[in-house]
Symmetry: C2
Subunit: 216 residues, 2 copies
């Protein structure tokens, strides 16, 4: 795969652009692919540089360490995922609509960006201590979005949830795990998956089923 693999023609990648420098952005995309395939620790700086079409030394002009690459990917990925989740969670009149929109968007993000989601969700522990703590703060924000929706829906009688904290965690967990198994060559599109997961989340929340013919 080339350094631009996964990059749609003419659609500038946000992650690459976030680096501020063209070469730095290319290295960032190369690192995502390498980390997703082999994991952070097993990825060599040589591999990253090679995927970006550069010499091993070039990496250190743009990033102090290999860990800094992971950190940039992690921060940006979390920010995007949380934004997608948060925006969708304000998109709807009823709480059920908003939960469905939030879950649909979050699951869909993990399917569409499954490669970088894999790095974002599974390589966290390779971060340095300070960077790790910083990311955990971001993650708490994401969990709170779902929990607030369950809180609101339960208080208003639209949802029936015995354990809000655990149920919110389960819904997040369901969406996150998409990054592990999703295969773009499989039969489900990210959109279909999002719709399906929205329905599952509503059921998990004990929301009243829509009458047949509505939704689904």
């Amino acid at each position: 795969m080339s350094a631009q693999a996964g990059q749609k023609q003419g659609a500038p990648d946000e992650l690459a652009a976030s680096a501020g420098h063209e070469t730095a952005g290319r290295l960032l995309l190369a690192a995502v692919e390498a980390f997703a395939e082999r994991g952070f620790h097993a990825t060599t700086t040589r591999d990253i540089a090679q995927r970006a079409g550069m010499s091993p030394a070039a990496l250190y002009i743009h990033y102090r360490t290999k860990e800094e690459l992971l950190y940039q990917i992690s921060v940006f990925g979390h920010q995007r995922a949380i934004r997608v989740l948060g925006d969708a969670s304000r998109h709807g009149v009823t709480v059920a609509d908003r939960l469905a929109a939030a879950v649909s968007a979050f699951a869909r993000w993990h399917a569409e960006h499954h490669t970088r989601a894999r790095v974002v969700q599974y390589e966290l522990t390779a971060l340095g201590e300070e960077h790790y703590a910083e990311i955990l703060t971001l993650r708490r924000r994401a969990g709170d979005i779902i929990r607030d929706l369950l809180d609101e829906g339960t208080a208003g009688g639209e949802f029936q949830v015995a354990d809000i904290r655990s149920t919110a965690r389960a819904i997040m967990s369901l969406c996150i795990d998409v990054a592990r198994w999703f295969d773009p060559a499989g039969s489900d599109s990210p959109e279909q998956l999002g719709r399906l997961y929205a329905g599952l989340a509503l059921r998990m929340a004990g929301a009243a089923e829509p009458p047949p013919g509505f939704g689904a």
Copy 2:
């Protein structure tokens, strides 16, 4: 942590025993911990040997390669998880009871054995091609257990599932992801988690809610 970390006093570990030789078993347990902490590729044979209290060379008396250690862990772990799932799935009169039992047991296994479950579920891709294919066959069997239950319940009118294949995958996915986040120091016990997840799975399957006071 010592090589016996996680090992309850006097309770012989099945995984260790499966090696057939005491030292080989100790190396297997050491490898599980190392792979879970750092990932397969990033784990050194020195680290494994050291955790088992042996010299680096001792590993190669019992295992030809580092990959063979992962393979043994993977086969045994999958066999156990599938057995736990399959046994529970025959435990109940109604389909709903059996689905609840299966999900409860499967989620609980991932919580109780979260360290080895992490290796089993997330280090698959580090296996050699043949070993990987072998494990995939095992995994398909696990997925089929849940799918068969959804099939049966839907045919009998007890469940309401639009997309059986995807819903079965989602239920499996929910349980598997427990290995990623479960913290034994957290507030939920594996048993509580199993109960909660059984209820969530029933809802995902569109099973009729038990009247208040029954179950939950």
